[in-house]
Subunit: 174 residues, 2 copies
């Protein structure tokens, strides 16, 4: 039991998506409820208010559903981290291993400046590959990752182990 | 000249993206500035505050960078409209013609309820195909589109003509 059980209850569990044997946690039913979406935003805001965040980084695509609210409430800039080929100007890129093959994330080269304080936001922390690559992207530009916020964390996938030394916060744990 | 020239100046113009001859208006440089991102959010909020919006629909992917802030500030639910295959539960879908071929948008079938008041948000109104299809998706479910908000509108592409009878608002016009 936690204070956030009512939020967890609003998440739809979709069996066998995106493939057989995977139980997908669908946040669209949570954010569809205006009161609950506001509550999620306020939980995250309260955690990072006063931390001097300069930039909030949202990870494509579901991270974009939460990061803008934090950028707004913290009066920070908003930075999209995207899959390759989606950003129009000069980018930096990090590749990371998947179970089969590799994937990459890109950010505009001028999106964060040295010494800026950055908060990374995504809907879900699973194996942590994307989150770890996003951290590297930001740190390579000389900026500082001061927090990583997720709505859901799948504890059994140990994604946190890929984020050593980071301040990782998730609202709902499975 | 308009009150929003300083916002237009923060938009990066990228020639020949995504293909030769296209001048791409890149909003990432606008939202990267926390003050300007807040201002954009406040302009949109002020326009729709008091309109009784139940749901804010964001169109993948750049619409997701603005829609959540409106959902938050209006205390409305947030609904993603996505490209096919990205939503895990039962969806409704509309196809629309492109210059060459067709494209489609999907929404979860239970995302809007009959008679709900819906605000559609995207970064850019260009030819209007995606926006018109999104309107149809929502109206087919019996909900009411009470506004369509864009950060940028490319007036010379006449996208508005595909949205007859809709209340269309764009902050910056080219």
């Amino acid at each position: 039991m936690s204070d956030y059980d009512h939020l967890a209850k609003a998440i739809r569990e979709v069996p066998d998506y995106p493939k057989e044997g995977i139980l997908f946690y669908d946040i669209t039913t949570l954010i569809n409820n205006g009161e609950l979406f506001n509550e999620v935003a306020d939980i995250l805001h309260q955690r990072y208010a006063g931390a001097g965040i300069d930039k909030v980084v949202g990870i494509e695509a579901r991270g974009f559903l939460f990061a803008p609210v934090l950028a707004y409430s913290l009066k920070a800039g908003l930075v999209p981290v995207r899959k390759p080929g989606k950003l129009p100007a000069e980018t930096v890129e990090i590749s990371y291993d998947l179970e089969y093959g590799t994937d990459s994330v890109q950010m505009h080269k001028d999106a964060v400046a040295p010494d800026e304080k950055v908060l990374i936001v995504d809907d879900l922390l699973a194996t942590g590959g994307t989150a770890a690559a996003t951290c590297k992207l930001i740190e390579q530009q000389g900026a500082q990752v001061v927090g990583m916020a997720f709505v859901i964390e799948l504890d059994f996938l140990n994604g946190r182990e890929k984020l050593p030394g980071q301040d990782v916060f998730s609202i709902i744990h499975y």
